[in-house]
């Protein structure tokens, strides 16, 4: 004899129905999200394939001049703004932490906290956020304008793959240069904290340097730089993807740049949270 369904099975059924109804109502957005992620994954695969062929096979020529141009544009031109942001971050961190640490009589520990916060977290993240506005928006606008002016179509018409010509140099340049910029950002951020601690908080300079060196381990640098590389790849991919999907003339190009910055920042913070959780679990 079968048992009649109780009140708990009714609740489970109604919960499942609610989830189903929720998903059904948002099927268009879900579909668009899946298409977006799928499109990005496809572009990433294609980018790796073309980069591999260009760098390690002799059947196609690798565009070194184009890569250098993009590295200068993405990296060299961003150095100034990254330095300004990071020096302020060092100053802010030191001043914000000082009162609390002073309460415990540990003011000189500003050096440890600034060092670890900048190298593990704020160096890569803020450099990536600056780059998403500085380089990401500009890549999206440039690629979008090329789509609108039929340049991308002209590339295909001449049997030249747009991923190879447009995405690969921008992807590699952003990924490599963000790592270089993060190294610079790490030093500048720590230097900002040093200046504040020495000249405002009266921490002896040698003590600050000794404590920073003692607090920072190689793993801190590596985790920061790994994150930076992934951030760079994500910014370049989102910017190129948005650029390739521009429609509607100049307004569409404007929308692509805005969308690139917004989506990049959300993605960067999400990925950062994921990295932090993984590193925490692994004890790195």
């Amino acid at each position: 004899m079968s048992e009649s369904p109780g009140p708990s099975s009714g609740r489970i059924r109604s919960s499942i129905e609610s989830v189903g109804a929720f998903a059904y109502e948002r099927k268009d957005q879900l579909g668009a999200g899946v298409r977006y992620i799928g499109g990005m994954a496809y572009m990433l695969g294609d980018t790796f394939a073309w980069a591999y062929r260009g760098l390690f096979k002799s059947d196609i020529k690798f565009g070194w001049p184009s890569l250098v141009v993009q590295m200068v544009r993405v990296g060299v031109k961003s150095i100034g703004i990254v330095c300004i942001v990071q020096v302020f971050i060092g100053v802010i961190l030191a001043l914000q932490l000082a009162p609390t640490l002073q309460t415990y009589g540990q003011l000189e520990r500003v050096a440890d906290v600034v060092g670890i916060a900048v190298v593990r977290e704020l160096g890569p993240l803020l450099t990536a956020i600056v780059l998403s506005g500085f380089a990401g928006a500009s890549i999206a606008a440039e690629v979008g304008a090329m789509v609108e002016s039929e340049e991308v179509k002209a590339l295909r018409a001449h049997a030249l793959n747009p991923i190879r010509f447009l995405v690969v140099p921008r992807f590699l340049a952003t990924t490599v240069m963000i790592i270089v910029l993060t190294v610079i950002a790490d030093y500048i951020g720590v230097f900002g904290g040093f200046l504040t601690s020495v000249y405002i908080l009266d921490v002896p300079p040698q003590l600050y340097i000794t404590l920073t060196q003692a607090a920072l381990k190689t793993g801190d640098f590596i985790t920061g730089l790994v994150k930076a590389g992934v951030f760079g790849a994500v910014i370049a991919l989102i910017a190129c993807y948005e650029g390739f999907h521009v429609t509607g003339g100049p307004a569409g190009v404007g929308n692509a740049t805005t969308s690139t910055v917004v989506k990049s920042i959300v993605a960067l913070i999400g990925i950062d949270a994921l990295f932090t959780a993984v590193f925490y679990t692994l004890g790195i």
Partner: protein
């Protein structure tokens, strides 16, 4: 018409687009005609008739919904359907044709000479000095040698099209496509581009396909013409056939199609193409969408 004369054979070509709300728009419906080797074929029709979509299907930019686009080139002696080609085969085919886009579509980050050189650098392994000679020849052909070191932003509309044409002919194509070559040009520059197109067609012995709604230009350069209306072939024939309809007294035209073609070719505001307010089907569609 013998089989070997056909360069491109279009068979029952269908192309549909799905709008955001899920409705389907059939832009091309059963388009069928042949393009002969060495001829200049004009594809014409009003706004929204599907001529640009047809061009995009012919160059492999759009995937067709149905039907076939069969190409026969020096390399591919047996006609091959574009839709069944692999990416590598499609690229091989693309190397056998050149395209002049409406805006010229020059790569803005490169000089005129670099634009022309790019297909040669990418698709050949010849010495840079030879590439330089070929670029010089191609630019001479379109009377743009004096502008070889200029950036596209420094060129006029006509000059951009000339430079685009030099790039399109860089690999000595068998087929040349032109998308609205006279659009945005003054009548004198437009006539000069037409002469250039005819000159290249003769010198290079290429098959020329021109999408346009500039009738003066079309009648100057055409061997044959095809008129599209609502995504279908309304009429295909020799230039002289269309000239006869254009010059005829509309009251003497008995066929509805002839009256429609007459109105289009003469650019008249009233006739079978327009309603009582003088609006075409396309304009009504745009108004309904907005």
């Amino acid at each position: 018409m013998s089989e070997q004369d056909v360069a491109i054979s279009i068979r029952n070509l269908e192309k549909s687009f799905t709008k955001a709300d899920g409705t389907e728009i059939r832009v091309l419906q059963g388009v069928t005609f042949d393009i002969l080797r060495g001829e200049t074929m004009i594809i014409m029709g009003g706004s929204g008739c599907g001529k640009s979509t047809l061009l995009n299907c012919l160059i492999g930019e759009y995937t067709v919904t149905g039907g076939e686009v069969l190409y026969k080139t020096k390399k591919m002696e047996t006609p091959r359907d574009l839709a069944r080609m692999s990416e590598a085969e499609l690229n091989d085919l693309r190397m056998s044709f050149g395209i002049l886009f409406q805006s010229g579509a020059l790569f803005n980050s490169m000089t005129v000479a670099d634009n022309v050189a790019l297909p040669l650098i990418e698709h050949s392994y010849v010495d840079p000095s030879i590439i330089d000679i070929v670029v010089t020849l191609k630019l001479q052909q379109v009377k743009m040698l004096a502008h070889r070191d200029k950036m596209p932003s420094q060129l006029s509309g006509g000059q951009k099209k000339r430079a685009g044409l030099a790039r399109a002919t860089a690999l000595d194509p068998e087929t040349l496509f032109y998308d609205e070559p006279s659009a945005g040009l003054d009548p004198v520059t437009s006539a000069a581009i037409d002469e250039l197109m005819m000159d290249l067609s003769k010198k290079l012995h290429v098959t020329t396909i021109v999408v346009t709604h500039e009738m003066d230009s079309a009648f100057r350069i055409a061997d044959r013409m095809v008129m599209l209306e609502k995504g279908k072939v309304l009429r295909i024939g020799k230039r002289e056939d269309f000239e006869a309809i254009r010059d005829a007294d509309p009251h003497e035209l008995t066929s509805a199609d002839d009256r429609l073609i007459h109105q289009f070719l003469n650019g008249e505001s009233s006739g079978p193409l327009t309603d009582a307010e003088g609006m075409t089907e396309f304009e009504k569609l745009i108004r309904a969408e907005s």
